[in-house]
Symmetry: C2
Subunit: 206 residues, 2 copies
């Protein structure tokens, strides 16, 4: 029903995660009616992603192409270099960083284990994490704690269990984010898994 250029736009943009054909159609008409020529800005933004972003040699967070191979976190002597927070993806890191409650380093895995496939995913930066921990063993700046900040899902659990087994030989403290009720939620609508997590991690008030 839509003319071909719009159908083509919808076909391509609805391949993006979280964008369905309906929203893609809305975007197409919004861009068509836009007077500020946002089309060019969007095209340039897409071009900007090509070959201009690489990842930190240490934590694999995205950094701009240039001389430096270290991200702003790994390069910052003020941060706590004895703690590594392992996250699934860059946007998880951003959420934790914005919360402003963590001052250590990160490690971006680039994904999680699959619930359907028992094989260890090859693209995850797991060997890199292991050698990162290993390289510090016995050194002055030894790593003291690895926080597995993976989502409390089946995939997150699978990945955490694998990492725990893998990192155990290094005798480093391994922790996971606490489970419980999210702030602002209602006990009435909490599911059984959340409630059992909240009960397990209950705190005594003093």
């Amino acid at each position: 029903m839509y003319p071909k250029p719009i159908k083509n736009f919808i076909d391509n943009f609805s391949k993006l995660p979280g964008i369905g054909p309906r929203q893609a159609a809305r975007l197409a008409f919004w861009i068509l009616n836009d007077k500020k020529n946002i089309k060019e800005d969007l095209k340039k933004a897409l071009e900007g992603l090509a070959g201009k972003v690489k990842s930190c040699d240490f934590c694999h967070f995205a950094i701009e192409n240039g001389d430096n191979n270290k991200c702003a976190f790994c390069d910052n002597p003020v941060r706590d270099h004895k703690t590594i927070c392992v996250v699934e993806k860059e946007t998880d890191l951003a959420t934790i960083e914005k919360a402003g409650v963590y001052k250590g380093l990160y490690h971006v895995l680039g994904g999680l284990f699959s619930a359907l496939d028992t094989a260890i995913p090859k693209n995850l930066k797991i060997p890199e994490l292991a050698s990162r921990v290993e390289s510090k063993m016995g050194a002055d700046n030894e790593i003291e704690e690895i926080i597995l900040a993976l989502s409390p899902t089946h995939e997150g659990d699978l990945t955490a269990r694998h990492l725990e087994r893998l990192l155990k030989p290094f005798k480093v403290k391994i922790t996971r984010l606490g489970r419980g009720l999210p702030y602002g939620s209602d006990v009435e609508f909490a599911d059984a898994k959340t409630l059992s997590g909240a009960l397990e991690s209950r705190k005594e008030l003093k």
Copy 2:
């Protein structure tokens, strides 16, 4: 915190309706990690919108640039040319068309009245609707009914009231979509306006 090309991507893509900075960040990393070079497809899709889409001379629905100035609806002799369904935007038309229950013609207004500004918006295809109805007056293919398929919101109500006043002199039947409970909804969670609409438009069972 993100490298510049990603920040730039987020800044530009979060200008789009329904896309926040968080989703824009997710899109950026998804596109970065995509192996099928979707970047080029997206750029081409954006280019495709430039100068390749115009609107039907009659109903103002989007059509591809070419010799024809009539959309597939206005050009279809099988459809009911005596009924015009007035919609706010192209995607509303698509929703109605997909439902498969309407066989008349359309008229895309391109927007609604604003609740904050009492002036009649200049960019709406309201004069075009009036002259479209007028041009058929007294002819064989006179328009019999105009269905105002505008959203049941304050803006939709304002627009409908204006169109009603404007079209009254043509002595054409003007209707609006019925109000009531959406299919699959729950009376418990219906708001007062929806319920009063549903009560007003209640039907006797026979």
